[in-house]
Symmetry: D3
Subunit: 171 residues, 6 copies
């Protein structure tokens, strides 16, 4: 069973918000941002697994401030934890109004991917090893997020989600 | 305070998966599907509110089977419940391999939108009124999904999320 | 020879006019609308024939009012009549300025498609059966539209187009 | 009233069929070709009128042979006749499989455009003057095509379409 | 060894600058223009060689005036000289503000392409024969441009670039 | 006169080659790569100048190996030197076949941008300060590249290009 540092999967994408990416208010469309998130996270999961990967799920994403035409968007993706043939990728999105030197964190999200072999069957991936405090925190909390995904997908009963239950019950 | 039936916000979108929408396996990209979901849900929220709307959040989306080049994708969106200036929209996605007469449910998701007035300020929307059993179920469960969104966005403490807590604690 | 109701081929597409779809006046481009018409009509013809289909012709389309950035466009397509391996599809296009609650019929058109087998050869399709007055009217008038297509394509002499001739000569 | 030669409005567009333009058979989509036709014809109408123009109608277009990925498509557009504020543009489309040195005429079509002044009101355009036999033929037959458009748009009774009637009745 | 006139490779492309092609100032993006240049030059090289071609290099391109949304862009491409399996293509770009009857030369560039056989191996192409003064000038100066490309790619020492050296040393 | 480190302008873009970006061989199109180079270099120039920027020139770019569908492309851009209102940006492009763990340098290029004030007039930018050996080398050689651009644009006589002349004459 091979191991690989989480940081080896790091991928960064920078995009300029162009008219083609915007809605009728000339703000970046939520769906377009999610498309970028999907691509950069897939690259990160590919780097970890050295395999073709397919999106398995996208966790809750919330949008705060509008990102306007001409802003620069930076997406940073890194694997947080692997589970047999799947990987959770953490993404952070910053928006930047460069001429006005304003930069703000726009979104954060977790996507999961499944690695496929050449026949398109799921295949096991290296163990992702966290190496600093932030990575370790993301590694640990990945279990709760996973339980939540399974509950939301109807694959686990809420009462069996022990991590979540303790989260919601402890004061 | 005006009221409006949930069903008045219904919007349906049919798309054909073209090369432009696919990844290197010629399967529909997850991010592209999310872009379609964002658009059809925005249309539904517009129909409910008769306002410009912006995406506030996209709940957990999971992807099951690959949707291949040439498949027909049908997205059905309808408002489930309104909260002052925001609306939750439920989306169901079907994929169809028409020549082989195979059709399967691909995804389900909840997106929330905020309605804006002409100055771009949030503005209150009509109360969404459910009118059959399915709509009533979606209306009721919207509260739990909302708590989850607030908890995930760090705007509510898990211990204050009463609906969720009871869900995770009851056997 | 199988039969199929015209209504089984119904397909509906909803699109939001985004900057990418507009011309320098930020109005929907005629060519972009025709592209959407082609796709939704192809889906309808696919549903009727359960075959791959290719566009054979697009009848005269006229554009009335501009459709502006941010409008919602709804396209409704249904097979009107089948001819051996080809099908005529009727499309209706509505444009909607949702915030101002204005909705107008923008276009109407007829497209024909040919169904192909796996070797790419034309293959016969089910007989399309109309089931209400509107469908019956479209079914009957399909013959004249077909004559017109043949005349315009130089495949029929105007003097042999009996249906058209009677239309142009009767007072 | 200014005059202008038809040939002054000539516009030529060459495109390479890329994956983005194709359907699931990797053939050029009918709708994409119509989008190119709309653009090149608009350029031609602009050149004749030196005005912004909007598409008023697209006449019957028929598709013969598939145009495959990698083919070169050449579109040639020229105004045939002007009518107060509108212009008819004739388009010819050739497809070319360059490596195999095969070239065939794919389509022919007529589009009409309306010229607009700066307030978006229709404005009169120069008289289009044909200058050779082909141009004169297109100029003369433009009247019949115009009658047909008016009849199909429900703006003229078939029995009032004198040019068409004689066409369909004479042996 | 076959010969072919340079003029037989002529290709012309006309494009309308649409929102999708522009940056946040609604001016044509440099990168989009380069994409068009690449396509039209590839078509020209294909016409000369009757082969699939791939871009080998793009020479220095400079941008003068902004090309605005709604302008018409005309690109004219023609092979200047062939070298075994490669061809140099000269491109001229004009921009046109049609309503204001203003037209200016925007760019000029040289691209080189390599012709490939069916196994993807470089294959020799016909000798390009210039036939007028302009073509002969482009044919002659192609040698210096080629030396410059080799020097810039690190494949030739500056001191071996005889044509360039004489250009830089002669008064 | 403000100064700014070259490294502060660093921008990195990661892209996945999708069907939409490829030619008929499903290799990344040269023009598409140039579009990405233009965007990431513009972001870098914006970061240095905190201004809107427009592309002034793209230096010679050569393409070596094909970049295939599904490869990951990484573009790294950084300002090398500033000249009053213009900046030269150096770009390095790597292509990566992740599943096969093969990574190669695909291209290198220099683009120049002009910074604009709010009226669209050129405006002076901070002095770019190199801070390590590589940056210093790029800073020094920027003068020769600038001379070459001026010569190629016909704005400087070859005989006045002292830096270039010495380069081509010294053994």
């Amino acid at each position: 069973m091979t191991e690989k540092l989480c940081s080896e999967s790091y991928a960064e994408m920078t995009e300029l918000v162009l008219p083609n990416d915007t809605n009728m208010l000339f703000n970046l469309m939520g769906g377009k941002l999610m498309q970028w998130m999907d691509i950069v996270a897939a690259i990160s999961a590919q780097r970890h697994s050295n395999r073709l990967v397919v999106t398995a799920s996208v966790d809750n994403v919330s949008f705060k401030e509008p990102i306007k035409l001409g802003y620069v968007v930076t997406l940073k993706a890194q694997v947080t934890r692997s589970f047999r043939s799947s990987m959770e990728v953490h993404i952070q999105v910053w928006a930047e109004d460069v001429p006005n030197q304003r930069r703000f964190k726009s979104n954060e999200a977790y996507l999961t991917f499944v690695a496929l072999d050449n026949e398109g069957k799921p295949v096991s991936v290296p163990v992702a090893v966290p190496n600093n405090d932030i990575e370790k925190h993301l590694f640990t909390t990945a279990l709760n997020r996973r339980e939540l995904r399974l509950v939301l997908a109807g694959k686990m009963k809420p009462s069996d989600a022990e991590g979540l239950r303790s989260m919601f019950t402890e004061k």
